[in-house]
Every structure is written in C-alpha cells, then in structure tokens.
C-alpha cells in the first residue's frame, strides 16, 4: 500500500492508497516540501475502495465518497479549508512566491493572466519557487501554501527547458479533457523548500499576451486595492486581515507587470530583486 504525503502550514497528512489507481490520483495532490521552521502535526486521511468508487475520511471525521476525480476535488477543498483555519485570520493572497538572490518576490494575479507559466519559466531560470498559488500574509512576513505547480498541457511548449520534468509529473484531466500536470517546483537535484520570511517586492501581474513585458512602479494605495481584490479575507476580522496586507505592502516595493514576453518578464523581476 503506497502512501502520499501532503503538508499544510501545521499538518502533515498521510494518505494510504488502497491500489495503484488511487496512488496515481493522489500523487497529483502530493506536496511535501521541506518546511524547516514549521512544527507539523501528523494526521491520517483514510482512503478505501467502495465497489467502483472510493471513500475518503479526513482527520476531522468528514466522509467523502465518489469517483477518484471527485475525491481529489474534495481533498483540494479540504486542504484549502485547513489552510484557512491554520492561517487564523491572516489573509491569503492568490499569488506565487519566488526567491532570487535571497530576495523574496510575490507575483499576485487573477486567474488566466499567466502566473503559472511565468513561475515555471522562473524555475527554469534558476529562481527558487516556494509556491505557485497562495501566500499566507502575516504582515511583512509571508509563507507560501505548500502546493505543486499546476501546468497546463498547452504551456509545455513555452517552457522547453522543463519539458521532461513536466511530462514526468502526475496528471489529471480538466473538464475539457486536457491534461494538467502537478509539477514539484524544484529542479532535479534540488529540494522544494518553503520558509516564512519578508518580501522584497510585490508584483501584480496583468495580461499583455502577445506583447512585451513592461514593469512599472505601483502606488501603495493601488497595490492595497489590488491585493484586497485578490485575497481571501476571513469572515471575521477583515480589517485586521487588510491591515496585514497594508503592512506587507508598506514593507515592500510594489510593481505592476504587464505580462507579455517571458524574457523581458524575467529581466524585470531580476531588477526588482537586485534594486
């Protein structure tokens, strides 16, 4: 029986898979970065065959039954709700976290702007990628949510340097039947590592597909407005959560990146790290 490990901010969930098909599905959700400063409580998620379907029971007793794709969907939701609970009032930004030359940069974006493609390219360029989806904001300090990069089939051609790594990664299919790859954000021979730390630059991405990438400075008030619009704020304590976003923005340089060609985008982000 194979086991899959998924880490959150405070837990390490182990899922014992009853068969190879379930193992393959759970591999998509696997997320086991090194998190040296975190104390992770061990917890089990049980997964069992139920005729043609599967049954999953989470550590808090919730029971889900259905096809493996349904189980994976519910597991994603369970993990995100776990992160919300662990974040304890901290806002969660929809953003990737990358580190270059010791400088942490977060890339904030709405869906379909190209964040994952850019993050994959940055990985190929030698940036350290901590996370690709969510960032928990404690104020000036942040931590990336442990989640692998999700690369769409159509993106592979844009990042030829990662082609072999992407193709060897676990997959699921979206509603249109296209493959989505779950790619661990570390180059061969390196380990995926997530640390809590301060942010040097906040870069809000805007779509400029087909054009050049252009980066400009962003006013702090506008940066706050955009950050709030791309955050999950807790139902109670929204002002406190927004204040944490404000503190984050105050401690960092803020930019707007019209995301077009990836070469220029990489160049701009290196400038943001070095300046």
């Amino acid at each position: 029986m194979q086991s899959t490990v998924i880490r959150t901010l405070s837990h390490e969930f182990a899922i014992a898979c009853p068969d190879p098909i379930a193992s393959a599905a759970m591999a998509f959700v696997r997320a086991a970065p090194d998190m040296p400063e975190r104390v992770l409580a061990a917890a089990r998620i049980s997964l069992a065959r139920l005729g043609a379907f599967y049954s999953m029971r989470t550590a808090n007793g919730a029971l889900f039954e259905g096809s493996l794709s349904h189980i994976v969907h519910r597991l994603h939701r369970f993990l995100f709700e776990t992160i919300l609970h662990e974040a304890a009032g901290a806002p969660i930004l929809h953003a990737a976290t990358v580190v270059v030359e010791g400088a942490r940069i977060i890339l904030v974006a709405q869906k379909a702007v190209g964040k994952s493609t850019l993050t994959a390219r940055l990985l190929a360029e030698g940036f350290v990628i901590e996370g690709d989806e969510h960032v928990v904001v404690f104020g000036r300090s942040v931590i990336a949510r442990p989640r692998t990069m999700r690369i769409k089939q159509g993106t592979i051609g844009l990042i030829p340097a990662l082609r072999e790594i992407i193709l060897a990664s676990p997959t699921i299919r979206d509603w249109d039947g296209r493959l989505i790859y779950s790619v661990q954000p570390a180059l061969p021979g390196r380990r995926w590592r997530i640390e809590q730390g301060n942010v040097k630059a906040i870069v809000t991405l805007e779509q400029n597909h087909g054009g050049h990438s252009i980066m400009t400075r962003l006013d702090q008030n506008e940066a706050l407005r955009l950050a709030i619009s791309m955050s999950f704020l807790p139902e109670t304590g929204k002002a406190m959560a927004a204040a944490r976003l404000r503190a984050l923005i105050q401690g960092a340089s803020c930019y707007r990146l019209a995301l077009g060609d990836l070469d220029n985008a990489v160049w701009h982000l290196k400038q943001a790290a070095y300046n």
């Binding site: 704020l233 929204k238 002002a239 927004a242 204040a243 404000r246």
Partner: protein, 92 residues
Amino acid sequence: MYDEARLLKIEGLQINEVADGYVVYEKTKDRVHFLNPVAALIFELCDGSHTVAEMRSILISGYDLSKFPDNEFQVALETMLAEGLIEGCKVQ
C-alpha cells in the same frame, strides 16, 4: 457639510490601526477602506463632541496650516458619510 454639524463613527465598524493610517471594514457594503493619517484623524474627530468647524480648527492648529484645504476636508467627510463610516448626530 455645514459648520455646526456633528458627526459620529458608525457602530460596528472593524477598525485596525496600521503604521500609516487606519484600515476600516464596513460590513453592510462589504468594503475595506484605507484611511491615510489625516483621514484617520478626521475619522477620530467624528466622535459626536466636535462640530465640523471645530474639527477644521483642530486640523489647522495641529498641522500648523496657513491655508486650509477645505475642499479636500469636505470631500473626506462626504466620502466617509457615503461609505457608511460616519453619520450625523445630535449634540451630545
């Protein structure tokens, strides 16, 4: 806003002080507002005990202003009123 008017913070707002002002959450419209230091001071003066004219005097002396930006002051009050952060009140 006439000079004798008195204003009061709406009850139930979530208010958080940050290094450069206040972050205020207003539940009815589900909106977060950032008040810069001057706006935060105006907001604090909306405690029902100061008239608009008195608030103006406090700002003039507090910031040692030779020319008071009355238009901006009025806009700040009207915006906070419109956004449901403050309301008019009777003499306390």
